[in-house]
């Protein structure tokens, strides 16, 4: 595959649950804006961190619609094993 065929790069912005402005969280590759939003959900909201996403490529801006909120962000809530405190490690072992 030639480099020119590479999926374009998108910048990802997430607005968290507490009403703060959209914040840049990183980037990823996607063939188009719709897919960039989906990829952003999978890559950047794995721990239920965001409620609204913007993806930006060059001069194009697309935003996820608020109605997407339910199915997209709820599932991460029960993945408690992603949080360090899920693993009970005795204090005497030291910081980890």
């Amino acid at each position: 595959m030639s480099a020119s065929n590479e999926w374009p790069l998108w910048e990802i912005f997430i607005r968290g649950q507490h009403g703060m402005s959209h914040r840049h969280v990183g980037s990823l590759h996607a063939p188009d804006a719709e897919r960039a939003i989906k990829n952003a959900r999978d890559v950047y909201t794995r721990r239920n961190e965001g409620v609204s996403l913007w993806v930006v490529e060059a001069k194009h801006i697309s935003a996820s619609s608020p109605s997407d909120k339910g199915p997209l962000y709820d599932p991460a809530k029960d993945k408690i094993y992603r949080h360090p405190t899920f693993y009970d490690i005795p204090d005497e072992v030291g910081k980890m």
Partner: protein, 321 residues
Amino acid sequence: MASTENTELSEQEIAFQARIDRGEKIEPKDWMPDAYRRSLIRQIGQHAHSEIVGQLPEGNWITRAPTLERKANLLAKVQDEAGHGLYLYCAAETLGITRDEMFEMLHNGKMKYSSIFNYPTLTWADMGAVGWLVDGAAIMNQVPLQRTSYGPYARAMVRICKEESFHQRQGFHIMMTMSNGSGEQKRMAQDALNRFWYPALMMFGPSDKDSVHSAQSMAWKIKMNSNDELRQKFVDETVPQAEYLGLTIPDDQLSLDSDTGHYRFSEPDWEEFHQVINGNGPCNEERLNARIKAWDDGAWVREGMMAHANKRSAKKQVAVG
């Protein structure tokens, strides 16, 4: 190389170094010396490759995880490593190289990845040892890099470090369970520690006296601590953890120096290290071939999805929100 350049710093280079010394972050559009850019691409790219090649030895056990809980934990952990690779490739891309170019350099051997991932994972206890020791060593390398001089790299490291701590803990938790388990489980745990101890020590790189890029990288703050310093810190933190598990570090020379409060330990076999780096580790070929195969098999998928996106954007304009 760096030292000859240092003898005649241009005004721009002096100003650049002064910014770094003041603790300012260098951002993609800022002027930077070519060598700084090249070193960063090499370092971040290598780091990114390590994350995705690092998926393979642990991915080896996802299908054999012994319970549904362990399966989910391990899968989430290995998935995180893919995420780390993704963040780091993006950081490197801000320096003017594409992700596809970096993949190509991984595949043709022009860029390396951490030698630790060329060792095999043979039993379930290896999932414990890898999380505990390999992620433990990685964290020790990565935490200081959150303060590195290059902005996108530092920000990627902040995100990565936030995710890493569950990795080490899930590994240690497996080790705890195995060490408290049956005789066979305990034996597997000890065996895993025996095999991963020295490769984990190698993760900090060669001894400072033999390390090629160190001085310039430290001045540029793309390397924050010396190899030996971090290795010592790792040993000091890990030995008591092994004692807690009731496992023995495979090193006869290991002893606590009561004057310094640090452990004295045996150096890893650096000849083995160089052999593994140069392609002669037990799994070099499998690991690289697995990556190349995944990339080649995926070509039609990437091309197909891109072609569809192009067709669609030709048909309609995406609404600007």
